[in-house]
């Protein structure tokens, strides 16, 4: 499917990526491994690329969360997308804490309150394992089951989550509320997004006969 590279950068190949992690700079020289020592020596000599605006050195930043906010963004309104994301995480936390305080003693440990853990687990549960691609052979296009790359899986999970929240809701429900509901359902392996993943798996299983079309 993808043969021509579309995105490219104007930087000279000698430029290195910036290192944001504060922990990396606190370690003294002796504790570093061989590769890290070479990297540090190179850094003293080679020029470094400029840091992109969504990369932050804060302890609380998460690449998955920022990717999700970028996908939720519309017309470049990052402020709105980020506030929706923070409100979603807060509603998840509130719902879980309320359940936690009402639960009896022995169940208290099973209830997960951390919104980030729930977010990551829900997205992992939504990721499909195989996908379908269109392959043309002898004039006809067939839907062929094909393994997906990691990036593609993550992208599909997030995309399904967002489209589902945008379409299947009552007119008056707010996005954070609907998203938190969907994320909690996905965390427990229920809900419409998991159903969509299962239907994709079933289609792939049904088209198993065409699997050899992948290799010409």
């Amino acid at each position: 499917p993808r043969l021509m590279q579309v995105r490219w950068s104007r930087y000279n190949p000698s430029y290195m990526e910036p290192e944001v992690n504060k922990e990396f700079y606190r370690k003294p020289l002796e504790e570093l491994t061989e590769e890290e020592r070479e990297k540090v020596e190179l850094k003293a000599v080679r020029p470094i690329k400029a840091a992109p605006p969504n990369l932050s050195s804060s302890v609380f930043s998460d690449p998955m969360v920022s990717k999700f906010t970028n996908m939720m963004m519309r017309d470049g309104n990052k402020v709105l997308a980020r506030s929706l994301m923070t409100q979603t995480l807060e509603t998840i936390k509130r719902k879980q804490l309320e359940k936690y305080h009402k639960a009896p003693e022995n169940e208290k440990e099973t209830i997960e309150c951390n919104p980030y853990v729930i977010f990551h687990q829900a997205l992992k549960n939504c990721q499909p394992i195989i996908g379908l691609t269109n392959i043309t052979k002898g004039g006809k296009t067939y839907q062929v089951p094909v393994p997906l790359k990691d990036n593609r899986k993550r992208f599909l999970a997030m995309k399904w989550m967002i489209t589902e929240c945008r379409e299947n809701k009552h007119r008056r429900t707010m996005m954070p509320e609907k998203l938190s509901q969907e994320l909690l359902l996905a965390f427990n392996n229920e809900g419409p997004v998991i159903k969509r993943k299962h239907s994709l798996h079933k289609m792939a299983e049904a088209n198993r006969a065409y699997a050899h079309f992948r290799w010409g």
């Binding site: 504060k22 804060s58 302890v59 609380f60 994301m85 923070t86 409100q87 995480l89 807060e90 936390k93 509130r94 804490l97 309320e98 936690y100 305080h101 309150c113 951390n114 919104p115 980030y116």
Partner: protein, 342 residues
């Protein structure tokens, strides 16, 4: 936790039944969400509140009422301090006249009626009836004890005789929504006259007092703007805030967040009240409210950790704490907003 004197920086809990009885309409919405999530209401004791308590305790009730104006930058906890004072006074048995936000009375009003009492004034039945309902919940005891001293005629058929308990005035206002604002005015006048005798102490707690002297966003039917004097509720409240009565205290808060036509960086009394308001409130005791001191920040952070509000693993480390302190600038509102998703 009645009289917290030297416990600066600690949180004290208000039992939930008292919260419903004392604050039917007073608390900020985010705080109400916190109460629901944690199943308890915890207020932090801060220095301005302690100052206010010492003044209130040592105030002489034979003198005219002293006015206190709480001011500070946005989000530094002025409304919470006011609620703390209200709770303290209601514990001690004072009659509390709590106006949650005076800005709600000068903007977004759907119905404006011509007042029947005076020709050029405008009534607001919705806001008046809501306030009367909440006042009834918080001060039931006093409404049964105090009696009216004059006869009031509401319309062609209803009238309240002399010597009837004030609860009847409130019920009248709730039943006949048209005359609700007049009922409010009558209530305030009666309470003011009777506070001389010293049978009870009166606390007038007004949040967002700069709404009483600014401009309104409301318009009359011929699209001419309404000035605050023309609203009965605002007019009566201004009479309460005047210090020509004795036997209590007036505690007010300036608020920029709900204020109309004022820049967002204005927080001093002179700027927010305008010339009229400042002259009207002139001899007052200003009480500034700063951001969190390091000790208060530590205590707030510890409280969030203890109640499992800060769930992120990195939030428990030293780095996370330093980052929260830097990002929020020790501002209570920013800290609350930042700690939400974490």
């Amino acid at each position: 936790a009645k009289h917290t004197e030297q416990h600066e920086g600690r949180h004290y809990g208000i039992p939930l039944e008292e919260v419903k009885a004392v604050f039917p309409h007073g608390l900020p919405s985010r705080f109400q969400q916190q109460i629901q999530t944690f199943n308890e209401a915890r207020v932090m004791v801060r220095k301005p509140a302690l100052e206010l308590f010492s003044y209130l305790r040592s105030s002489n009730f034979a003198h005219p009422a002293v006015r206190y104006v709480i001011y500070g930058e946005r989000g530094t906890g002025k409304t919470m301090i006011l609620c703390h004072v209200v709770h303290f006074c209601s514990r001690q048995g004072w009659l509390v006249l709590h106006v949650p936000d005076a800005h709600l009375w000068v903007k977004n009003c759907k119905e404006l009626l011509q007042s029947s009492y005076k020709k050029d004034r405008l009534d607001q039945p919705l806001q008046a009836s809501v306030w009367l309902k909440n006042f009834k919940i918080s001060n039931e005891r006093f409404l049964r004890e105090l009696k009216t001293q004059k006869k009031y005629v509401w319309g062609t058929r209803e009238s309240t005789e002399e010597g009837r308990p004030l609860g009847e005035v409130v019920d009248q206002g709730l039943a006949r929504v048209r005359s609700a604002s007049d009922a409010v005015g009558v209530l305030l006048k009666e309470i003011k006259q009777q506070s001389h005798r010293g049978s009870f102490q009166l606390l007038v707690a007004v949040d967002g007092v700069n709404a009483l002297w600014g401009r309104t966003t409301l318009r009359k039917e011929d699209k001419s703007p309404v000035s605050p004097e023309e609203l009965t509720l605002v007019h009566n409240l201004r009479k309460m805030v005047m210090n020509n009565w004795s036997g209590g205290a007036i505690v007010t808060t300036l608020s920029q967040t709900g204020s109309l036509f004022k820049p967002s960086s204005a927080y001093l009394p002179q700027e927010l009240l305008g010339k009229e308001g400042f002259d009207a409130l002139d001899p007052f005791v200003p009480i500034p409210v700063p951001n969190y001191s390091p000790m208060e920040f530590e205590s707030c952070y510890g409280y969030y950790l203890e109640r499992r509000w800060l769930q992120h693993e990195k939030a428990r480390t030293e780095d996370g704490k330093a980052e929260l302190r830097f990002l929020s600038g020790s501002n209570p509102r920013q800290l609350d907003r930042l700690a939400g998703p974490l």
